[in-house]
């Protein structure tokens, strides 16, 4: 462990600068409309420049675990939380990804949002997201990480609901918020368990209880692992909390690219990789991660090919690709680097895909139905080129990013060995084929074939501010994977954080796995070409399709399940409680008041106004008192 010095001790600026800029943008009012977007876009670029400096500064250290202490946050009895930053190789990868891809997408957003009346607010939220995300990845304790975790959740909620006058966007924002709350319960329980057993939530202090010489029992490790996994599922849109992510596409496209594809949704993978020490100690928790990853990667693929909305296809593809990452990090020690490599590569190519989708949307009057696209490659050659690079990368075309990172995950899934290795490997392989299928479908429906757009649409190429960031990302999608993998660069870099990569005995020939993967991918591409390339694509969604397609269109009934099993009983419960409240509680209170009022109304009638009746009453009363006295006396 090294204490921060020199350039490293300014790492707090990574959070302070975007937070300040967000504050300025959100409070400056109308006068910021002119320079607001520029300020918003300059901030991540400055941060990226600083991050590069920070990277070399960290690289020059012999011990690359830099601790920057801020202040003592909480100190109560045995419980102690120090607020500060931990800059180690793992967080460095994320800092570079967030600020780098973030810069490109911010620049793109200047062009994309230039006509939007709410662009000042947009950049305010966007910078808030950068601040929260950087806090998340540089925090030195789970508690501080939780602050960033909630911060990105807030920014995500605000940006999904950016077009708050659209009911669908407002609903999607709420859905994302609620699904994230479910996950956050898991993370907060994990933190409470750490507090309870270790009296601290700092990474260093917590991890010292695990591994060789640690005193944490298997049960504690499993409990923390499962709860962290729940938190990660919520944030990363993994099964069973995945339904919010496709709906989150209601936000502006740069948001989908940065938050819901490249960075925020991968926070779950970060959380698991960061907690490597805990997961290494619990076989059960690792198995759960792997199962979640395998289910989600197939789920995302199947849903993606039923969608006609280009952004939704990409969203389900994100769900599926994060499933791959979960699968990789769930395989335990030695495999975290593979997950992180795919995460970074995915950050490049998915951002490129989303930005080109945004460019298409921009050109088509904000229409996003692929059935109304078609033949766009001639009109928008740059956008088509970028999408094509992203497409190459995601399907794992030889030498593109996905070929290095995704195929590595398929490889390590088979390398796990045994029956489970076969199941996971086949699932990952099948996922690769399906990915090729739905991506080819999206490519053909958008850029090839007949023009199917309406007469009032005049597609045009994106402006320069949008074009060049896309081109950079496209280049990264092609070569990024190789740069990460060459000489095991990322593996070596990450080994201080997540442990070295171990090349175990491989039950299958690596080349065989690679070739089979390529064959499966080729089958997927060919299948999609036969179904969508050789035939005319209908301009409206065909009815009377197969059961599988219907299920895929309705995201395998996950929304229906949630509505039937969770939402409706909740509504019934609420209605029942409202009924009980109105009739039971209010009924008792109001009934008592009514009874008192009614009876006093009756008792009032005794005041007749006739003096003689009062006199009679007095006499009767006196006689009664006397009679009582006598009765008591003589009994």
């Amino acid at each position: 462990m090294t204490t921060a010095h020199g350039l490293q001790s300014a790492a707090w600026l990574l959070i302070a600068i975007p937070a300040l800029s967000s504050l300025v943008l959100l409070t400056a009012g109308k006068r910021a409309d002119r320079w607001g977007p520029i300020l918003g876009a300059v901030v991540p670029v400055v941060l990226f420049a600083y991050s590069i400096g920070l990277f070399f500064s960290v690289k020059s250290e012999s011990n690359r675990e830099i601790h920057a202490h801020w202040f003592t946050w909480i100190s109560v009895g045995r419980f102690n939380v120090e607020a500060g930053q931990l800059i180690d190789p793992l967080s460095m990868v994320f800092i570079l990804l967030i600020t780098g891809v973030g810069s490109l997408i911010h620049i793109y957003a200047v062009g994309y949002m230039s006509h939007d009346p709410g662009r000042r607010r947009f950049f305010g939220y966007f910078n808030l997201f950068i601040a929260a995300m950087l806090l998340l990845v540089t925090a030195n304790s789970y508690l501080l990480l939780y602050v960033g975790w909630e911060g990105v959740g807030l920014a995500s909620y605000l940006l999904i609901g950016f077009y708050y006058d659209r009911p669908s966007a407002a609903t999607a924002a709420k859905k994302a918020f609620i699904a994230n709350r479910v996950g956050d319960v898991g993370l907060s329980i994990a933190i409470m368990v750490m507090f309870c057993y270790f009296g601290s939530t700092g990474f260093q202090q917590v991890f010292s209880h695990f591994g060789a010489g640690g005193n944490a029992t298997k049960g504690v490790a499993a409990a923390i692992g499962f709860m962290l996994l729940l938190g990660a599922c919520g944030k990363s849109g993994q099964f069973p909390l995945q339904t919010w992510l496709p709906d989150a596409m209601e936000g502006p496209t740069p948001v989908s690219a940065l938050i819901h594809a490249a960075t925020m949704v991968t926070a779950g993978v970060y959380l698991i990789a960061r907690s490597a020490a805990i997961f290494d100690d619990s076989q059960a928790a690792r198995t759960a991660v792997v199962v979640v990853g395998a289910i989600t990667l197939l789920y995302g693929c199947v849903c993606a090919f039923g969608q006609d909305d280009l952004k939704k296809v990409l969203a389900y593809s994100t769900v599926s690709q994060i499933g791959y990452m979960f699968l990789a990090v769930g395989l335990g020690a030695g495999n975290y680097a593979a997950g992180i490599a795919h995460l970074v590569g995915h950050g490049f190519f998915k951002a490129a895909l989303f930005l080109s989708a945004g460019s298409v949307m921009h050109a088509m009057n904000d229409r996003i139905d692929m059935r109304r696209f078609g033949g766009l490659r001639r009109v928008m050659p740059w956008t088509f080129g970028v999408f094509f690079c992203g497409y190459f990368a995601i399907i794992g075309f030889p030498l593109a990013t996905g070929f290095w990172t995704k195929d590595k995950i398929i490889d390590i899934a088979f390398a796990k060995g045994g029956t489970s290795g076969w199941i996971l490997g086949v699932a990952a392989l099948l996922g690769a084929g399906l990915t090729a299928f739905y991506m080819t479908r999206a490519l053909i429906m958008t850029f090839f074939g007949q023009r199917r757009w309406e007469d009032d649409v005049h597609p045009h190429e994106a402006p320069a501010a949008m074009k060049w960031p896309m081109v950079v990302l496209a280049a990264l999608s092609l070569v990024g994977g190789y740069l990460l993998i060459v000489n095991g660069a990322l593996n070596k870099w990450l080994s201080p954080s997540v442990g070295p990569v171990m090349e175990g005995a491989h039950p299958l020939n690596k080349w065989a796995v690679g070739i089979v993967t390529l064959v499966v991918v080729a089958l997927g591409v060919g299948g999609a070409y036969v179904v969508f390339g050789l035939r005319q694509v209908p301009a409206s969604q065909p009815m009377g399709v197969s059961v599988v397609t219907t299920a895929a269109r309705r995201n395998l009934y996950a929304d229906a399940f949630n509505e039937t099993v969770l939402m409706r009983p909740g509504q019934w419960l609420t209605r029942g409680l409202v009924f009980f409240d109105n009739r039971g509680v209010d009924g008792a209170v109001n009934g008592l008041a009514a009874a008192l009022g009614g009876s006093s109304g009756r008792a009032r009638r005794l005041q007749t106004g006739f003096v003689r009746s009062y006199a009679l009453t007095m006499l009767a009363g006196s006689v009664a008192v006397l009679a009582t006295l006598l009765a008591v006396r003589f009994s």
Binding site: G609, V611, L616, L619
Partner: protein, 99 residues
């Protein structure tokens, strides 16, 4: 000459007074009946004083008379003012103060 006769007379007068208060409508008569009841009580007080050989009862009788005199002043004043405004001395007509 036994004191019992006085007590019986006192009881009879009290009963007549009480019945008068209850059954008569004229305020003056009701008032007189109240006086009758007070005096019946006075009679029994004096009688008991005699029986016991102490002066306590007679002292209380004086108190009752004093209070009765004051009460007559107030009561007749009320009856007078009611009669002036409503041209009636019937207690049943004075029934505005009610529910």
């Amino acid at each position: 000459m036994t004191p019992t006769y006085y007590l019986v007379l006192s009881a009879a007068l009290f009963t007549i007074g009480a019945v008068g208060v209850l059954v008569r409508r004229n305020a003056i008569v009701v008032f007189m009946c109240v006086e009758l009841m007070l005096n019946a009580v006075n009679l029994s007080l004096v009688t008991f004083s005699r029986i016991n050989g102490t002066l306590d009862g007679q002292i209380i009788a004086f108190f009752v008379m004093t209070v009765a005199a004051a009460e007559v002043v107030v009561g007749l004043a009320i009856i007078m003012s009611i009669f002036r405004t409503r041209r009636s001395a019937s207690v049943d007509d004075v029934n505005l103060l009610k529910y």
